[in-house]
Symmetry: C2
Subunit: 155 residues, 2 copies
DNA sequence: TTTTCTGCAAACGATTTGCATACAC
DNA sequence: GTGTATGCAAATCGTTTGCAGAAAA
């Protein structure tokens, strides 16, 4: 495995776009680049991305950010996630199906979101498919509780 | 196990409310009753509940519906669920912890939400707790794919 | 009679949309 | 050139809030 999760360079983006009749634009490139440049800062909302753009003195409008995130999600480059905080968030999609899935541990006290980088649901999925006839393509798993930091603390 | 999932009669509601200094009102009773009366129609949004109230010639306002759903969720009588369709939905909470959890299978074609009434995550939770130190209190699991009806169909 | 609730309407925040202009191909 | 994309502002949609009157304890 390589040392970072970067998967989509500029040319990959161009390819995926033109495949479906979309055009490569500096705005789309720049917005994707923000995710590549912030591997630590996962789970960014449209507003988060917009703020980073303004820090970078970029003139991209908020509506364009919404449209680009939507498109990148549709192309499978980003994945939309939802932590129930009232806004859609996005993270880079990992290409290797073996590392594709991870789970989110959401602390009810400090509200931090921790990633758990194993999936371990293959058996369960196989069982559900067999029992229900439902063909599973993807899943989203959130665990709520207290992180190791908050666990001991009073209120 | 009894033949329905009804858990909270009127007096249970009164008890849970007064325990925390809230008052029993006809509005709260009526809104909870809608969930009890529609065991088949799970996953109702505030708007859904409001529409049923209006069909019933009830004068309860939409803001009251939002406040009541929020409160019933806080009391553990309802559980909020989110299917990414842009509005909060609620379902009756099951009392028996053994049946508390179920999973939602969301069909990408017909958009139906199917319940899968087994949990089977105890092992995974134990593993995550051990490995991450995160104390798990609850979880939310969604599977996306095609239901048995839509599975064969073209587009 | 004190405090909490309700209903209404206005406020809100995230997201979407219409439209004229600008740009990618 | 042609069709798509952008930026702006206005519109939309689910949800929340302020407030005065109504009702529960």
């Amino acid at each position: 495995m390589s040392e970072n999760h970067q998967l989509f360079g500029t040319e990959d983006l161009r390819g995926k776009l033109s495949e479906r009749g979309y055009k490569m634009t500096p705005q789309r490139k720049e917005i994707l680049q923000i995710f590549v440049n912030h591997p630590d800062n996962h789970h960014m909302s449209a507003e988060d991305v917009y703020n980073i753009l303004r820090e970078n003195k970029s003139e991209i409008g908020l509506a364009t950010v919404y449209r680009a995130l939507d498109l990148l999600n549709e192309l499978g480059i980003l994945v939309q996630v939802d932590f129930g905080d009232g806004c859609a968030r996005y993270e880079l999609n990992a290409a290797d199906p073996k590392v594709h899935h991870h789970h989110h541990l959401i602390c009810l006290k400090c509200k931090n979101v921790i990633e758990f980088d194993e999936d371990l649901l293959d058996q369960l999925e196989a069982y559900i498919e067999k029992k229900s006839g439902f063909q599973i393509l993807n899943h989203e798993v959130k665990f709520f509780g207290y992180c190791s930091e908050c666990r001991g603390k009073e209120d």
